[in-house]
Symmetry: C2
Subunit: 664 residues, 2 copies
């Protein structure tokens, strides 16, 4: 392994920003049809080339008159004028209005020669023959200009309509339409090549072989979506392995075709090494390693284009000049949350600037720390955090809590809403302290409800009935601990619990649990004793889970009956320590033939076609923090627990029944 | 004219909302590729179908070991283990680690059989032959599970990944990728047909004949952009004239193809009448006329689809069932600001809901009224307002000022940022009062600088150097008046002024003005006397303009010299009262042959190829309100006036020179 990866001289975050600012990733302006211009940014000023309106225009339905002919007219003493014709919108007037006459006119029509005002139809009467009136009684006086928009009064030819840098929303598109413009000069869209590296990566949708260590490529799609959001156009390149020649070919192709090349994906040192060598040999490495956590292995540089390489292209240097000889390059860290954080913090602003797009108004929010957080590594930390908007509609900032699931967890992507930049000098963020959260996307919204606790299929279905909840399936014990620490609104607790946490029970149900076995129960498992006595491969759940707690209680009772210690029993269970994370996981091990028995629910066993040996029922309760019971989303959940309505998400599950006991 | 247009029974705004809510415009959910899913909304819950990671995964580069083999190891007393092989990311392990041995492992690789922890490479040393070390010294103890992410630890198969209704931002797309999902079920995109009506409308880009009263179609493009912004797909239909059969055919084609049909465009009563008849005869009119200003003539209804009409289609009723027999229909008012206001207030929420999209966080802002506004018509008023964010970065809400340029002005589209809904019972909004502004688009940002006053080509070029300014070319006199009333930051004042308004002069220049005549000056105009004495067709500027003020002063002096009254002189100028709006307008009248002389600048005359007879120079000053001089944008403007840098926007114009006199 090379020592390059040790990043002995880390650059400061500011140096990284400067290095990125020194890169040129702005594309040339382009012209787009007006219909495609929404969200784009004007590259130059637009002046009106025509008068709007282009003619003196009636702004009411009524009669076009000479204002002075109506002077003195009122309800009691109308003036009568000869009707000489009519003018409609979209037609050239074919009448001339002499003194003492008038013409019928529609809103939007051209004022006929001789007229300077319009009398609203409501202030007139037809006089004479009913079918073809030839005189009009005018019951009000109008001044010249009344109910007329004169030519150019809206905007005149030569007037400044929109300035450069204007972002085109529907209203600007409206004004451009009024000027007859159907193509607009806008800032170009930076093309951002995404090169995904690492032998282990598989594109979503393709088959995965976990035994070979394959995982789905998360970064390419995540970063591509971020590029789009920042106003760039993502361009995907095929996965590159860790081979130098292949990587070189791919990076230079991307450099030829794009304004910026991002590499991302692999966490393996060898892939990073290969990229490092390509950039050093075929480009210009500006910076390697930044004092920021996460993101240390960030690379910033330039990549030569093939067209600029004399030994490859000779004099045929392509359409662009010498400054087109290179593309910007940024290497992102491999873990998804790290990659998105570094993209959000360092790269997205550069893409936005190149696209001429302003920073979105909603890209940061203020919040207050829910818990105290300590840190002391002496480099900038971009701490992933979740948000909970406790007092929506009030001025109180949302609650901010750290999300630290460890590097590499992709679920942190949706459990965190953004990052707080913690200064290298800051060692403690106190609970209650105000912090600024840089949201992962301007579209990120805090969840309506935050829950934590047991992983339960009925609760999952209840969550579907709520708008934008967030639930962390951390197990019953950990859920209660977090409730006590003041972060979630509710905890879901299954089975017996020793923790005494102040909470309000919103509702609950019971679920049947036991041993999940292959279909037909081939080993004739009939209870816990089979597990202890037969040579069964068992799969357990972790200690935080409510199911495990019930199993341990049952083992305690069995040990007591047999007058042995519990550890005597567990030592005889092959797989007691083999724990898997979710409620379905043990069942899936059984169906895959990797285990003879697993800890699980009747619901899951039956749904996945397994046999089931019941060991009992356990209660599941939904508990709210006492100071959160009045929140809208908590009330909504409580109401749902009280009356789930049609298609009962709890009662309709096998082995489930509502617990309506009064002490709940 | 029919009396339908008088809307005798106006519905309440709430009744209009209810009528729209009763329409079904939600399309069916659809499945889209993940790459196109950004911004869409999940139609159903997504559970994990696989464990992530799919295997026990090394989360560091180092050596895979049995944790218990390292117990007791430390820097002083390392443990040595036999190196039996290596495992890389993306490869199946081909080693088994027996007690006392270890294997090199890369981040992301599969933990080989027999191992349960990773020792970081930094805490190890190679022992033995330099080229091919066969033993590794371990300088730290690790516990089972250290630096290993176990299978399913991120998310396990069966776990709830994302709930229905989740909006897909980059991070959700990341999690879906991790699950291997490349297609997602999302809420459908409502198709919104836009039928533009009125004989007078011409599509932007086509030729316009103003003499026939033609204008460009503003509403279609504006509303289409609004539909896109709300999550719908706009579908344009060809312009319809005022013919019943053509309109019927068009509306029913749109109903066949869309979830919602909007008609919009014409302000003429006859087009509205035709639509009204089509809806009554070929659909179902729910509501006609709403007590809201603007927007009274709103129509809400349903349109039969042709497929549902037995005498047209017989039994061949098409692919969809009976509920597919109609489409929702809403008729918008004809004036652009009215149409966008009604769309924003009543229609966009329905389109968003049909698309499953939440209301954008930035769709409303709080502001405080800059001026007192009176109103008393007894119906809901949606008052167009502009915003000015005086204290960006602070908690003070932005300044809100009414924009009332009269119905039909398309420039109001960009001069107003949104609307304030003024309750029918509210007769006065006091200056300083807090109001809620519904922005026209979530992307609308208040301008950085608000200016008002003289229309001047040099100032237009200065504006191009500022980010997001707004300038209202209302004339010098009106600009000063508004500065006094506390709305704009700066006023641009040309020529003599009688107003005494407390202001700080930021800088200024002088510009040469006079009479613009055809090229070569065929009538040999040599000054004001020619205007008075010859039979020239003159074009003037309005009294608010600084140019007009200088002309009037010069006429005063001429009258004095001749011992006549000024009105004696002006009565002899053919066209003294013929005023046009912008500084280029008189010049354009001259070039078009519609006038023999016009009031204008040497700059404009020379640029547009006209002759010019100088009448003098006038000063132009940029004046700031005293309480605004410290605003960033005002300072920036002042700096620019002080030192415009290269490509001087003032000094480079013909007839212009900077005024650097010390009293400025």
């Amino acid at each position: 392994m090379t020592d390059r990866r040790e990043f002995r001289d880390l650059a400061t975050p500011d140096a990284a920003r400067e290095a990125i600012a020194s890169l040129d990733l702005a594309p040339d302006p382009e012209t787009v049809p007006l219909a495609d211009a929404r969200g784009r940014v004007l590259a130059e000023r637009i002046d009106a080339a025509i008068d709007v309106p282009g003619f003196d225009r009636a702004s009411m339905d009524g009669y076009a008159v000479r204002g002075r002919d109506t002077f003195g007219a009122d309800e009691a003493d109308p003036v009568e004028l000869d009707l000489v014709g009519a003018v409609h919108a979209g037609a050239a007037p074919d009448v001339t209005v002499e003194p003492g006459t008038c013409a019928e006119i529609s809103t939007g029509a051209v004022m006929p020669d001789g007229t300077d005002a319009v009398v609203m139809v409501e202030r007139t009467d037809e006089v004479g023959d009913g079918d073809r009136p030839d005189r009009i009684a005018i019951r009000t006086a109008v001044a010249p200009g009344d109910h007329v928009m004169s030519a150019g009064a809206d905007i005149a030819a030569g007037g400044r309509a929109l300035g450069p840098g204007t972002r085109l929303t529907p209203r600007e598109i409206g004004l451009l339409s009024a000027l007859g413009i159907d193509e607009v000069p806008v800032e170009g869209t930076p093309r951002v090549g995404i090169v995904s590296t690492g032998d282990e990566l598989v594109r979503p949708g393709d088959d995965l072989d976990p035994a070979r260590g394959e995982i789905y490529d998360v970064n390419s799609t995540t970063i591509a979506a971020g590029v789009e959001e920042a106003g760039g156009e993502p361009v995907f390149y095929p996965h590159a392995g860790d081979d130098y020649d292949e990587m070189e070919r791919l990076l230079r192709r991307a450099a030829d075709e794009c304004d910026l090349v991002l590499s991302s994906g692999s966490t393996s040192a060898s892939a990073v090494d290969v990229i490092y060598r390509v950039i050093e040999e075929r480009g210009d490495l500006l910076l390697h390693g930044v004092a920021v956590k996460p993101g240390k292995p960030m690379l910033i540089g330039r990549l030569d284009r093939r067209g600029s390489d004399p030994d490859e292209s000779g004099s045929d240097a392509g359409e662009s000049g010498s400054d087109a000889g290179e593309s910007a390059y940024i290497g992102l860290p491999g873990y998804p949350v790290s990659a998105l954080t570094i993209f959000r913090t360092f790269v997205a602003p550069a893409v936005r600037e190149a696209a001429g797009q302003p920073e979105p108004a909603t890209s940061t929010v203020e919040g207050r720390m829910a818990v105290t957080e300590r840190y002391g590594e002496g480099r900038l930390r971009l701490m992933p955090v979740g948000l909970l908007d406790l007092d929506s509609g009030t001025e109180r900032p949302p609650l901010v809590y750290p999300v630290d699931k460890g590097s590499g967890a992709t679920t942190s992507l949706v459990e965190a809403d953004g990052v707080v930049a913690v200064d290298p000098d800051t060692e403690v963020l106190d609970a209650g302290e105000t912090v600024e959260v840089q949201l992962f996307s301007p579209d990120v919204r805090p969840p309506s409800l935050l829950g934590a606790g047991e992983d339960d299929p009925a609760f999952n279905r209840l969550l579907d009935r709520l708008a934008a909840p967030r639930y962390l399936p951390v197990g019953s014990r950990e859920g209660l601990r977090r409730l006590r620490d003041g972060v979630p609104d509710v905890a879901v607790v299954a089975g017996p619990t020793s923790r005494d946490v102040d909470s309000v029970v919103l509702g609950g149900w019971s679920r049947e649990w036991g041993l999940v076995v292959p279909e037909g129960n081939p080993a004739s498992v009939d209870g816990l004793s089979s597990l202890v006595e037969s040579d069964l491969r068992f799969v357990n759940r972790p200690p935080d889970s409510g199911l495990r707690r019930s199993l341990d209680d049952a083992l305690d009772r069995l040990a007591e009956r047999r007058s042995v210690s519990k550890s005597d029993l567990t030592a005889r269970i092959d797989g007691y320590e083999r724990t898997v994370r979710a409620f379905e996981s043990p069942v899936r091990r059984v169906t895959a033939g990797d285990a003879d028995a697993g800890l699980g629910l009747r619901e899951t066993a039956e749904r996945l076609g397994c046999g089931f040996v019941s060991l009992g029922e356990q209660s599941v309760t939904v508990r709210a923090a006492p100071d959160r019971v009045d929140r809208d989303a908590v009330r909504e959940l409580a109401a749902l627990l009280d009356d789930p309505g049609a298609d009962d998400p709890v009662g309709s599950l096998v082995g489930y029944s509502w617990d309506r006991s009064p002490d709940l």
